[in-house]
Symmetry: C2
Subunit: 474 residues, 2 copies
């Protein structure tokens, strides 16, 4: 009955309500989008660049379910938890859609007692955020994560993660970028010497995290007003978070009378110095900025944190660089796996997440502007006929080509016009046409037409596969 009612309601919706137009809304859910063939072609280019980088660094690949037990995600994200999608309770377990790939990875490690792995994972994650789709901010979006888990000598895996960000952003040719780096230990040490009470570290950290979007004055008033921090402490923080630089700044802060007295800050600065030494060996410090305003939103980071930002020259004369948003981020999270292990055994981890959607938006806009024609299939040859009544012959020939591994199409018409068949090749970029005609069948040949040059050659049927291969190999 329920089914019948649903059907009737559906039909009613289709037929339209009182106003005679359908009530049914034809759309994708808020904050989501379809990817058509053109978009997919761009997306695959980006994925291929990212995956080859991950493979170049020796990563294995894993996959996890799109939803997790709700309790798996609970208490891992701090103030962001409110953005998690829950599934309806339909009896059975309470489930939520994954919010990132990091927590599922930590759950996977603890569940399988893995203490040592380098893996990547490319999959969709879900956040009930306010979407800004033109700028590539969606509720469903891909993350491309690379993580190194295991007990290793300090900063070597951390440096590799930054190298990976550098390689990928260079490879994708998105323009100039900078990777901001900081360390949660330095932040916590800084909070301590500025007079922030221990209990407020994480929430003040969340406020600092907003500095890339809102001016310091707003962040300060949130700290003092909403979060009850003393104005003096806030002002002290305000001085530190303006600082950014390289090895020189690290050395300077190691001499800072207050910071150098704080154990956490001192350790963090020592790590940062080592990290910069390794980055120097990798030759990438030119695009790395040690930035005390970088905080990262998520609760689970424990050490190095970083975020890559694309720079856009607003005005060529002024040379002022304006950030157009974060395209990659990550950091060290040494405590997360231990939160899942029944005995609290820790597995230190560091990782990077590439935010594909924003990169994709940029490339999509660029491609639209350039009017470059992008092929959405790889078809090598169209099997066509010059006369009527040759459907059977086309079917026989295309079947031979498919079986030989040739990418081939034909029009699904009994008697298509030759002109329409040639037009289809023009429209879709198919480079060759294999034409069967009565005379060719008698002679045991196929007429091969090269679309670009309109040249036509007769090819013996037994040589056709080889001829197509030769002519379509780059």
């Amino acid at each position: 009955i329920a089914k019948e009612v649903a059907k009737l309601l559906e039909m009613k919706a289709q037929l339209g309500g009182d106003e005679g137009k359908p009530k049914f809304v034809l759309k994708t859910p808020k904050g989501t989008r379809d990817y058509g063939p053109k978009q997919m072609a761009i997306r695959e280019r980006v994925f291929n660049a990212i995956i080859s980088c991950f493979k170049r660094h020796g990563a294995e690949v894993i996959d996890t379910p799109v939803f997790e037990l709700k309790e798996t995600l609970t208490g891992k994200y701090g103030e962001d938890s409110k953005l998690i999608y829950d599934l309806k309770d339909q009896g059975g377990e309470l489930l939520s859609l994954r919010y990132d790939l990091t927590v599922p990875f930590a759950r996977y490690l603890a569940m399988n007692k893995i203490t040592n792995i380098k893996r990547y994972h490319i999959a969709k994650v879900y956040r009930r955020d306010n979407p800004a789709m033109t700028r590539g901010r969606y509720r469903e979006f891909y993350q491309c994560d690379f993580d190194i888990a295991g007990q290793f000598d300090p900063m070597i895996p951390d440096a590799e993660c930054l190298k990976i960000v550098h390689e990928i952003l260079s490879d994708l040719q998105l323009g100039d970028f900078v990777v901001k780096v900081n360390d949660r230990c330095i932040l916590d040490g800084m909070f301590a010497v500025c007079g922030v009470p221990d209990s407020k570290f994480r929430t003040i950290c969340s406020s600092v995290d907003k500095l890339d979007k809102v001016p310091w004055e707003e962040v300060r008033s949130e700290m003092v007003g909403e979060k009850g921090l003393s104005p003096e402490a806030a002002d002290r923080i305000g001085e530190y978070v303006q600082l950014h630089g390289g090895l020189d700044l690290i050395e300077q802060l190691l001499q800072d009378p207050k910071l150098s007295q704080n154990k956490l800050a001192k350790e963090g600065l020592g790590d940062m110095k080592l990290l910069f030494e390794y980055l120097t060996l990798f030759g990438i410090t030119g695009k790395i900025s040690f930035d005390l305003s970088l905080a990262r939103g998520l609760d689970y980071y424990t050490g190095v944190i970083f975020e890559a930002v694309l720079l856009q020259q607003e005005n060529e004369h002024v040379e002022e660089l304006v950030g157009v948003g974060s395209v990659a981020g990550g950091g060290r999270y040494d405590g997360l796996v231990g939160m899942f292990d029944p005995k609290g055994r820790k597995v230190p981890c560091v990782g990077v997440s590439i935010g594909i959607e924003r990169i994709f938006s940029i490339l999509e806009q660029r491609l639209e502007a350039s009017e470059e024609k992008i092929r959405t299939t790889e078809t090598q040859v169209l099997v066509a006929s010059a006369q009527k009544k040759l459907l059977e012959e086309r079917l026989k020939l295309i079947s031979e080509l498919w079986d030989a591994g040739i990418k081939a199409e034909m029009l699904y018409k009994k008697n298509p016009k030759l002109l329409n068949q040639l037009q289809y090749c023009e429209d879709t970029g198919i480079p060759l046409v294999a034409i069967v005609g009565e005379q060719e069948l008698k002679d045991g040949v196929v007429k091969l037409r090269i679309v670009a040059t309109r040249e036509e050659v007769n090819v013996r049927r037994e040589s056709l596969v080889e001829e197509i291969r030769t002519r379509t190999s780059q």
Copy 2:
């Protein structure tokens, strides 16, 4: 506060309840699984085989969100609707996880007013079914769909879908298989001549669909008992559904005194005859069986339907073939897009869905039995050192290799033992080791060790990339 409470509860759960052990359950949701690196390696092989077949047939690719508006899915699946996962109402739209890729595809076509496309889509779908995970039945599983939408001459796209199933199952070498084919028009005509009332067509169709899992007696008693069909009508159906064969059976049924009088059945049989003629041209009728017991569960099919089943020789002597379950299925659904179009404009579609999980289960079991070692990375070379204090030199060398596109790894230790580094190559299948030592650095060379043969050669540093490429190209 809510966050703090959640954190405390989490900590309490970690510390354990009254019995001193954690209440937290470390698992994936019911009916789901993780894919580790080995499983992913197998999965990628299968995907590659399927994708290259789809591309060989000239398909574009699209992607849609993992959830749809609930009303998009409502009234499309018939009795299966109860298995749809709903998302919790957190304010805003009511959403459900996609149940297959076909309904989202139809929604995509209607929304974008596309009347002509050949596309594939590989993505996870969700069904709150009773999982049978050892046999590859999950609640979250991949579907690999290929569909042809558009108004074309009859049976040409339908025949291509069957060709695709044949190519993929042959290519994957899963053993013998048969593709059962039927037509909803023939079924409906058969129901009519057997005396099934029009209103019971779909529900009786659902009963017939169970014939591959339960014996006729049970299906008959469901028809008569639960669904109120007359015993005589059920018995007449019982006679037809035993029939299976090829062109001969089609000819026979075209002469059947009852069926030949029914317009729907006659049309369906005419289509089936044409389909078999095309399949003969493709040379694949040997594995196609016209089977009157095939019904398919979903409501939306309107014409040709098919299902591929793997056959397993239970006993070599008896040569009795037993089906081990469906690995692909599909059919024609000419009405689905029209259900979404505000004006009900129809776009005829036919498509095939490859069920990857069952195929994957078989290949995984086979691989485990064979003890074949499967590599989970593509690393070409390990950058190693023979003495202490060479971390910087290793970092410099590996950075050069990465920048030249070489897949390289190193151990994340300051002073790893050479033996451990060689052992790592043995364990992970890395074929080459590039060893830096003090003497080599002085001489401007790197010692390249071939793991399999233990051969070692000194290679000039500037020739190293080329040497690695040569030695690792197949």
